[in-house]
């Protein structure tokens, strides 16, 4: 994969990863047993096709950017989380009521009204949004520069992008799935190395802090643990 204009470069990605691992502190020795995952460039998607993957990489990188404080969506492998979720029960709305009747035009407070599953929403909305980017900004989303990408996402979030009512939840899905991938347990593919937990000081699945609630204004020093026992 070549570095595309506006696409977070591999160099930035590596810088982000290094920062992430620096944040994890003692992780170096404790996590020696955990195999390093394949890089996002070499990751083989379970659901997303090439163009969709390029979009997700580019979009999540703007929603939680790598510059500034803390790790970004790419260092924490949010795209992997989204790909795996769409390939699984969530993507196929496995345990949702999907029989209809569907009223995609119903007011949003009435919940999930589209007949499409989340995976289908992504599949249909990404090309539609890319087409809008093409006509409004002259290139598909992933090929735009960061500033224009931000503008395009802003338009999407404000409902200025013409999408069929079956696809109207695309923006909120994309945003919430990105946040979930950033903060969920690493076993789901995102939050790599528990970097987001380290960043916000969340100690993970330890659940043993009974001496700490009374200790006001003292930072809890121990890094997080994941559900599968990784330490950072």
């Amino acid at each position: 994969m070549t570095d595309l204009p506006g696409y977070p470069s591999r160099r930035n990605f590596l810088k982000g990863s290094a920062a992430g691992f620096a944040l994890t502190g003692i992780a170096a020795s404790a996590e020696a047993q955990v195999e390093a995952p394949v890089s996002l460039d070499e990751y083989e998607t379970e659901y997303l096709n090439g163009a969709e993957w390029a979009f997700i990489m580019a979009a999540t990188a703007r929603l939680i950017p790598s510059e500034g404080d803390g790790p970004g969506a790419l260092e924490t492998r949010v795209p992997v989380f989204i790909d795996r979720q769409l390939a699984g029960d969530y993507g196929s709305a496995d345990d949702w009521y999907m029989e209809g009747p569907h009223a995609p035009d119903a007011e949003p407070a009435r919940g999930w009204q589209t007949p499409l599953t989340p995976a289908e929403v992504y599949r249909q909305a990404i090309p539609a949004f890319d087409a809008w980017c093409q006509s409004s900004h002259g290139a598909s989303f992933a090929e735009l520069d960061a500033e224009t990408q931000d503008a395009a996402l802003t338009s999407l979030s404000e409902g200025e992008v013409e999408l069929s009512s079956e696809l109207r939840d695309f923006w909120s899905l994309l945003l919430s799935n990105t946040k979930e991938g950033y903060f969920a347990d690493p076993q789901y593919g995102g939050n790599a190395g528990m970097q987001s937990w380290v960043y916000i000081g969340f100690p993970g699945a330890r659940a043993a802090y009974r001496e700490w609630p009374e200790r006001h204004n003292i930072e809890y020093p121990l890094g997080p643990v994941s559900i599968s026992g990784e330490r950072a």
Binding site: G25, I26, Q33, A208, Y220, P221, L222, G223, V225, G229
Partner: protein
Amino acid sequence: MKTFLRILAGLVLVGVIALLAFIFVPVQRTQPATELAADWQPAEGQGKMVLDAGDCVACHTSDEGKSLAGGRAVASPMGTIWSTNITPDDDTGIGTWSYADFRAAMIDGVAPNGTHLYPAMPYENYRLMTEEDMRALYDYLMTEVEPVSEPNKETALPFPFNQRWGIRAWKWLALTHDAGFAPAGASDAQDRGQYLVESLGHCGACHTPRNAFMAQDGVTAAEDSFLTGGVVGGWNAPALRGDAAGIKDWTVSELADYLATGRNAHSAANGEMSLVIEHSLQKLPDSDNIAIAAYLKGMDGDAVDLPETLAAAGPTATPEAEADDAGADTAEMLVSADPGMPLGARLYSDNCLGCHFASGKGAPGIFPELQGNSLVVGSEVSPLISVILNGAELPATEKRPMTLRMQGYADRLSDDEIAELATWLRGAWGNDAGPVAAADVADVRSGDSTH
């Protein structure tokens, strides 16, 4: 030369005759210490109590089978011994046994046809039963238990252990004690406890070390090794007397709670003891569990205060157990949540601290304390490894019906991590036991260890 040959031939002949006699001449049955009147009747419920206290059901019932119909595999160092059908079925059980036959099996270890019973049957201990209890148990088995037609599985140990006449020689070494019970006379409760411990409960079968002949190294309190701890199938049956006794800091009341419910302010029953509590001890009257506790606590000469009841009905407010002096440093280190703590402590913090707490004292009646816990600091490490890998479950008992369950950590922790954690546990809060190797963990994980 001729004379020498003649003497040699004579000696060989005498030897052969002696061996044949040893194999074929029937064993003299031990006679009862007291003769009961022919019309003697057991008290109401006495036979059932003896059956429960003797824990007959645990061995003589298979997982899927009918009660007392045998067929449970009893693991022994020599191989698998199958327990037998002791329902009163004429063909497959003990329906045709006379009372004298029954007593001989219970105290001499001999079946009516002269077959010597393997000492997996604790006749070393039942030998100390009173004649009254023996009769009550016989009556109960013969009249209260439904006959079940269930053919016995043949125990087939490798040579030489399949030569059952050899057990006769073993008995010359092991059954040197008189039949019947001799109370020490400390108090009524302690004498009752002594009887239950020495005889019916056959506690010594596990909690007394085995001597060079695999016999219990002492079957009564008069012998120094009695109840000083044994090893059974890779598990420690902890010492119940002396400085090494895991129960030395327990009160009579706490010990009685443990016997009746499998849990108390300190510990939670596990392994074989869990079965003993489930099948036997929880069914005894409170007074008997208090008596056992009083006797055990009195063995080292401690003053014994008898509680009136045990395991009071809840809900009871149990105050949080604070770390003691020996555990203070460990507790402080855990509470500090210092990222520089040793890996074992970090693993404890990540996985165990939520229930067993920084004090290592657990929660009374719920989560066992790990400080001084005989399973944690035992000479055998596979039980501790097994609990970490596979978790554990407390049996439901009448007074404490909740089956508390600890999850296993086989998926969450590697062999190296469990070895680090177990090693750390064995040295935390003043514990002082040796390290655990990752290879030990791998053995337990793959099922190569003894359980």
